[in-house]
């Protein structure tokens, strides 16, 4: 595991698994990257100069007992107005330079005009999962955000309108943009425009309770064709296939599952937990932290605390037969 991690970092393959701020794939992340290069350059230069002087001073001016004047005190210098002035003015100039460069990026990111082709997504943070809905497309999903790739020549960014249903959260996908907090009773906005197709990882970045660590984000930047296909699939109502999953569907719809979860087109209209209409189309469950396999799904429904102790979904205490049936039903919700 050690070698694999080292290899991942050292290799220049920054696609899957990378959340480095130095591998920007969208305009906000790119502009922050450029600014950060300037800032790092300036601070590194300051470090070299000042640390260099410090190092020189402690070497050159160390007390050596062998010196002829070792027992005498050195000349006492109390100060110098010119020197004080110089090392006041020069830092002020550096501050002005940095400030102007920074303001430019703040304004360009936060005041960016919204193009007509932008996609609107509403993000609601919950303990401990992400609710994503596309109001103009009639789609509600959870934890895995599909957005179109944005061509710089004809930008199709995604505008996120964000709030929280409970405590503070923060949406952070480093390769695409800086983070923005989700605050209850407040609307925040940000935009993303991934310029290459692929999967971008992130996670909640504001401590929100017990399972803050497992509130992961998966952003799928799809090509226009793939995105259209995904939208079409998501807009369909829940798969209503016949037996053998009818038993599972019946159990699901007659138990408390429906008070927290929604399956579009059925009696399940709960809003407290993630929307499950297209659960089987997702790669992960438990907010990105567990691969979506039948075995994992079964184990999660049986006892969510096994994967995420402190998750707000209670253990359902279904018997083995019912558990199998419900799992089979959920697996059909593509």
């Amino acid at each position: 595991m050690l070698a694999r991690n080292a290899r991942t970092f050292l290799s220049s393959d920054f696609s899957q698994g990378s959340t480095s701020i130095f591998a920007p794939a969208g305009t906000p992340a790119h502009s922050i990257f450029s600014l950060s290069m300037l800032v790092l350059g300036i601070t590194f230069a300051i470090f070299l100069i000042v640390a260099g002087l410090l190092l020189y001073a402690i070497v050159r001016y160390r007390h050596r007992a062998s010196d002829a004047d070792a027992s005498q005190e050195p000349p006492q210098i109390y100060g110098s107005n010119q020197i004080e002035l110089s090392w006041t003015v020069i830092p002020i100039l550096i501050v002005v330079l940095l400030f102007l460069a920074t303001t430019r990026i703040i304004l360009s990111t936060q005041n960016a005009p919204k193009p007509a082709a932008a996609l609107d997504v509403t993000v609601v943070g919950h303990q401990f999962w992400w609710e994503f809905s596309y109001p103009k497309l009639g789609i509600v999903t959870a934890n895995e955000l599909h957005i179109p790739v944005s061509d710089p020549k004809h930008p199709t960014p995604t505008y996120l309108t964000m709030t929280s249903a409970d405590t503070d959260h923060s949406f952070w996908v480093p390769r695409l943009a800086g983070k923005m907090d989700l605050i209850p009773n407040q609307i925040n906005t940000m935009w993303l425009d991934p310029q290459a197709a692929g999967l971008y990882l992130g996670q909640c970045a504001q401590y929100c309770g017990v399972e803050h660590a497992k509130m992961l984000i998966r952003v799928y930047a799809d090509s226009p064709a793939d995105f259209a296909a995904w939208v079409a699939r998501q807009q369909k109502p829940a798969v209503n296939s016949d037996d053998p999953t009818a038993a599972g569907r019946a159990i699901f719809q007659h138990s408390v599952c429906i008070s927290c979860h929604t399956v579009a087109g059925t009696v399940a209209t709960g809003r407290f937990g993630p929307d499950l209409t297209h659960l089987a189309s997702r790669d992960t469950i438990a907010s990105g932290s567990v691969p979506n396999t039948p075995a994992n799904l079964r184990a999660f429904v049986d006892n969510p605390a096994h994967f995420k102790p402190g998750a707000l979904m209670p253990a359902m205490h279904l018997n083995q037969h019912d558990l199998d049936a419900v799992t089979a039903y959920l697996a059909t919700l593509k």
Partner: protein, 566 residues
């Protein structure tokens, strides 16, 4: 302690007095003496001892967290335990290590350095100590209050900054959050009391001739720090009263369901929180201002500029708080303003660093253990300041805020700058406080071991932040590429623990076996070095009169006194 240590017969020549050995006393008498004392020196030592105990406890909490984070998906502690650990670690280190140890040194040194016999309000001094101490016990009682006695709640797990609405009753049932609130409320009262004392002492009890412009820089810095305490700790007190009203009286200050604002808590907390970190760092600057000149054998360079810079830092620190809130959605106007204010504070801070450099320049540097820690402070504070400038750039903070880069930055300040200067202060003033020198040999071992551990942990901790690792997570995914860095970071913790234990051993061993110090082991220049070590209860047999910033320099160099250069 003055009564227990037999004073050597002839080293005390102040006004011709000679101290005799005191007869041994009953333990109960000694205890009673300490519990009822109003002597600033004893209170100072109690603050310092108390803080050292909590330093070890807080360090242990850090060690547990680093073991949990060394590898991904670890199960060393549960998520609930981990969340309590980082809450308790932060709260302990800030309120029950940082504040007490800095007030302890201030209590001990300020009256001595201005030629006074005690603080302005000795009984308030004792009250402030005991109420702060009780706060610390209350915080840790939360561990017992859990499943132990009444099942009332357990240790707080809301983070040391306790954001609303996570702290509302609905999201934090039980009493764990209340332990946090009340413990800090009490500690805050103690801090305000001590701050009142320091300001009143400094303004009203200086010895004749000690104009404000002749005060040691340490006293200036404690004056600024204490003034900051009034205007910074009070907002936290107010916010905590509001939080308690929300939790128990049904008010809606931070109740987002009723239209309350989560961001308002953040504003109130950080209006306290940012000046708080300056309250913690200014005393470290105070120590540096005294120690670096003595071991460079030169007067501090630019005394007036240092005073102006310190006061400037105090004022500007009140205007930068929302750089902790760049990602909250305040809007480009606010983000721009707070970026500017935060960058501006780097100017007076830089001035101080350059003045220390100029003090070293042309001097004759003695590498005692104390000075080595001070030099470590200089390099490390430079780095910490530079990463702070990086974080002041709001867009950069949008990536790095709430990540391990921030954790690395503030630990660089708290450990690399403040704790290093505290170690330096110990090696420098322990002889005055106890009459014995700390072992220089052990001190140098302490320095190197701790230095290695510090850099292993906190240099490499910047990397996971740059790679996208957020704070306050009890574990992380294996595919993020964070493991190797976390492993290195965790390994450094072991070295730091070893260094700290060596230090504690040195403190205890030297008390009994260290070489006798005498009144002025470092050939220094401020008034505390004119008293015996340790000083008698009354400090000075006769209140001195001073004519310059370095009264002892004037005495030792009558041909070239400082008073010629004022």
């Amino acid at each position: 302690m003055a009564t227990q240590t037999p004073a050597p017969a002839d080293t005390n020549q102040i006004s011709g007095l000679v101290t005799y050995s005191a007869p041994r006393r009953l333990v109960l008498d000694v205890l009673h003496d300490w519990v009822t004392t109003v002597d600033h020196k004893k209170i100072g030592l109690m603050y310092i001892g108390y803080a050292l105990v909590f330093l070890v406890i807080g360090g242990f909490e850090a060690l547990l967290m680093r073991i949990q984070l060394a590898i991904p998906n670890n199960h060393f502690v549960s998520p609930q335990t981990f969340n309590s650990l980082f809450t308790m670690h932060g709260t302990t280190m800030v309120f029950f290590v940082g504040m007490p140890i800095l007030f302890g040194f201030g209590n001990y040194l300020v009256p001595l350095m201005i030629g006074a016999r005690d603080m302005a309000f000795p009984r308030l001094n004792a009250f402030s100590f005991w109420i702060s101490a009780f706060g610390g016990f209350l915080l840790y009682f939360s561990y017992f209050g859990a499943s132990g006695l009444y099942g009332a709640g357990g240790a707080p797990d809301v983070g040391w900054f306790a954001y609303a609405p996570l702290t509302a009753r609905v999201f934090s049932p039980g009493h764990s959050t209340d332990y946090w609130t009340l413990a800090i409320l009490l500690s805050g009262i103690g801090s305000i009391g001590t701050a009142i004392n320091i300001v009143a002492t400094t303004l009203c009890m200086r010895c004749p001739g000690m104009k404000l412009s002749r005060m040691p820089l340490l006293v200036w810095l404690y004056l600024v720090t204490s003034s900051l305490v009034f205007v910074a700790v009070s907002p936290l007190t107010a916010a905590q009263i509001m939080l308690m009203l929300d939790r128990y009286a049904g008010s809606h200050f931070f109740d987002t369901q009723a239209g309350g604002s989560a961001v308002l808590w953040m504003h109130f907390f950080w209006i306290f929180g940012h000046p708080e970190v300056y309250i913690l760092v200014l005393p470290a600057f105070a120590f540096a201002n005294e120690i670096i000149p003595v071991f460079s054998r030169k007067a501090i360079f630019g005394y007036p500029a240092m005073v102006a810079a310190s006061v400037g830092i105090g004022f500007i620190s009140l205007s930068v708080w929302a750089h902790h809130m760049f990602t909250v959605g305040l809007g480009p106007g606010a983000n721009t303003f707070f970026t500017l204010a935060t960058m501006v504070i780097s100017v007076p801070t830089g001035i101080k660093l350059f003045n220390w450099l100029a003090t070293l320049w042309g001097g004759k540097i003695h590498f005692t253990a104390s000075m080595m820690f001070a030099i470590g402070f200089l390099f490390q504070f430079l780095i910490a300041g530079l990463t702070g400038i990086m974080l002041s750039v709001a867009p950069f903070d949008w990536q790095l805020g709430n990540s391990y880069f921030v954790v690395a930055h503030f630990h660089y300040v708290l450990v690399g700058a403040i704790l290093f200067m505290i170690f330096s202060a110990f090696y420098y003033w322990y002889p005055k406080m106890t009459g014995r020198m700390l072992s220089e040999r052990l001190g140098k071992w302490h320095f190197w071991i701790f230095l290695i551990g510090f850099h292993l942990t906190f240099d490499f901790m910047h990397v996971p932040g740059l790679l996208g690792m957020p704070r306050r997570i009890y574990t992380y995914e294996a595919d993020r590429g964070w493991m190797i860095w976390n492993l290195i970071v965790s390994s450094g913790a072991v070295f730091q623990a070893a260094g700290a234990l060596l230090f504690v051993y040195n403190l205890v061993w030297s008390y009994f076996k260290g070489p006798i110090a005498g009144p002025d082991p470092w050939d220094a220049w401020t008034l505390e070095w004119s008293t015996p070590s340790p000083p008698p209860a009354y400090n000075f047999a006769v209140i001195p009169t001073v004519e310059s910033r370095r009264p002892l320099w004037d005495l030792k160099h009558p041909d070239d006194p400082d008073s010629n250069y004022e």
